[in-house]
């Protein structure tokens, strides 16, 4: 059974077809890219997979479970975590608290446990805190634990956002343009970080990315979309030589 299976995924916004008959199957521990020009529908695909949008047509299953009637937090608890194209950290909460709140689904104690500080509560909170510190340590963020994200550099915020997603212990990690807005040193750091995550955790990584350097050095498979439709699917070398891709990116007359 594939980890993620999307079949005939279509999403319309009024008259606009943002995603048109999109299909994908992802297995365990893959590293796959989704590329395409701006407005091609890439982020919409992620929004559909993470349960933020409902598909107009088609179905998504995660580990065989149909996610169509689920709310986003339920999809997340199936093991799907993501970052956002524009950083969406909780800016008024410390980095540490950002990585605690994201483990909400793991809290699993009742309000009464919380008021009475029961054994269950203490245990779960300790576990949440431990996971948070471990991740901060492993991702070189420990020294910023008590900072507010809005006071950090853009590159660090990206890193915190990835750490926050990883705190969910996902089996599928969606990265929406992780290298956007990073300087070249930060891009190198990002490539290293993503590779380290992929080697260390049992996670499939699916990323939207414009910087070919990132895609080529990390992904084994690339899917290309344009105007909501898939125009190519293959290994990095196949994609680089694909005329449809070159046309989509560069326009008709340039070649």
């Amino acid at each position: 059974m594939p980890l993620l299976e999307a079949k005939g995924l279509t999403r319309r916004f009024g008259g606009l077809i943002a995603v048109n008959d999109f299909n994908i199957e992802l297995g365990e521990r893959e590293m796959v890219a989704l590329i395409g020009p701006n407005g091609a529908g890439k982020t919409t695909v992620f929004n559909l997979v993470s349960g933020f949008y409902q598909p107009s047509e088609g179905a998504i299953t995660i580990n065989g479970k149909d996610t169509r009637s689920m709310r986003p937090h339920q999809v997340t608890s199936l093991g799907v975590a993501r970052t956002f194209q524009g950083i969406r950290l909780w800016g008024e909460m410390t980095v540490l608290d950002n990585i605690r709140v994201s483990q909400h689904y793991r809290a699993g104690y009742s309000l009464l446990d919380c008021f009475l500080r029961t054994k269950k509560y203490m245990g779960r909170e300790a576990e949440i805190e431990r996971v948070a510190w471990e991740l901060l340590e492993a991702m070189d963020l420990k020294e910023y634990a008590l900072e507010l994200p809005r006071n950090l550099s853009y590159g660090l915020q990206r890193r915190v956002e990835i750490a926050r997603a990883m705190s969910l212990k996902p089996s599928l990690l969606l990265l929406d343009e992780p290298a956007a807005g990073l300087n070249s040193a930060d891009v190198e750091g990002l490539i290293k970080l993503v590779r380290w995550i992929h080697e260390t955790f049992p996670v499939t990584i699916w990323m939207i990315e414009h910087q070919m350097k990132v895609v080529m050095s990390l992904c084994t498979r690339i899917k290309v979309v344009d105007f909501g439709a898939t125009i190519a699917d293959g290994t990095p070398t196949e994609i680089q030589a694909n005329p449809a891709v070159i046309k989509a990116y560069l326009g008709d007359d340039t070649i």
Partner: protein, 337 residues
């Protein structure tokens, strides 16, 4: 040991205050100001959960206070006083001491359920629209009671003194002061435990980025339900105490004017700060008393002060900081969890 210093001094404080009231060291007027302060602290900290921590704009807190006031009053009147409609007392006055907290709890519970009127729309609605719903909720409560002749309608409801007298008959100490002090400590303690837990931090996550919260596994509907119901339930508790301090309630003591007062306290103290809300409730109560000679003119002066505050310190006295953030040394003594 040091960690408990705060708790110990808190209870010592309660004891000393009650003893001082008992032996006439502080007069009845001062006692009633202190009780009003306690009620105001309960109201402003509980509203702060919604307006500060969750970033919504609830302007109907008075309505939930009203529900708590009436429900607990009806229970105690039913049990301990003779009422021309509700009949003779059901229990002997000696049981008042034990029944009173249960009556308060009943008021808080019904007020929490009334909070659903706002909580459920909040799943889909935010900001201005939700503010209007909270306003409507306040009106619904007041108008409903206005139309209930059986509990006095617009003339109000009384008979709660019998319960207070019953408690004093058992042991002659200033019971209401004691209950208010306990209620205040309980409220702040409960809220403090909630907002410092991972569960509770889901509330400010909703304020700061609701979409990110939902995607990061926070069940935002559940959090809204908890926040609104906890907030309205504690307002109901404050209402129950308020009703038994006065011995008489009138639906119009809980109208938009009351809700506005509570909002002023929240914004004065700083959104998302429990110590701020506590300080501002104390300050506000004192201010109202100091300005009492101005009579109705104080309602020109106080809003004016609010406008000035918003001009020069829009984040309120404390911003979203707690006392222990500003004075880290306090942390040694101050672990109110």
């Amino acid at each position: 040991m040091q960690k408990h210093t705060f708790t110990i001094s808190l209870f010592a404080g309660i004891f000393v205050l009650t003893a001082m009231a008992q032996f006439g060291v502080i007069n009845q007027y001062l006692v009633s100001v202190i009780m009003l302060m306690g009620v105001n602290i309960m109201l402003s900290t509980s509203l702060n959960l919604v307006n500060g921590y969750m970033g919504e704009f609830s302007c109907g807190h008075g309505g939930f206070m009203c529900v708590g006031a009436y429900v607990s009053s009806i229970v105690t009147v039913l049990l301990f006083s003779k009422n021309h409609i509700l009949g003779a007392p059901l229990l002997p006055p000696s049981l008042a001491l034990f029944a009173f907290p249960l009556a308060l709890f009943a008021g808080a519970a019904v007020a929490a359920v009334a909070g659903l009127v706002v909580a459920i729309p909040s799943f889909k609605t935010r900001g201005d629209y939700l503010a209007i719903i909270t306003l409507a909720a306040n009106y619904i409560v007041i108008s409903a009671i206005d139309n209930m002749e059986i509990i006095g309608g617009p003339r109000g409801f009384m008979g709660m003194n019998a319960t207070v007298n019953g408690m004093e008959g058992l042991l002659d100490i200033p019971w209401m002061l004691l209950w208010v002090l306990f209620g205040t400590v309980f409220t702040v303690w409960l809220l403090r435990r909630f907002v410092s837990s991972t569960l509770g931090k889901g509330v400010p996550a909703i304020a700061q980025d609701e979409i990110a919260a939902e995607i990061m596994s926070v069940d935002t509907n559940r959090m809204k339900l908890i926040a609104f119901m906890l907030s309205s339930g504690l307002a109901g508790l404050a209402g129950g105490l308020f009703a038994h301090i006065l011995g008489y309630v009138n639906p119009h003591s809980f109208d938009i004017m009351k809700s506005t007062e509570v909002m002023v306290m929240v914004y004065l103290g700083g959104m998302g700060s429990l110590s701020g809300a506590t300080l501002s409730a104390i300050l506000f109560t004192v201010l109202l008393e100091v300005l009492r000679p101005l009579e109705i003119w104080k309602w020109v002066v106080i809003p004016l002060l609010l406008i000035l505050l918003m001009q020069f310190r829009p984040e309120g006295i404390m911003g979203n900081k707690e006392l222990s953030d500003l004075f880290p040394k306090l942390k040694k003594y101050y672990s109110f969890k």
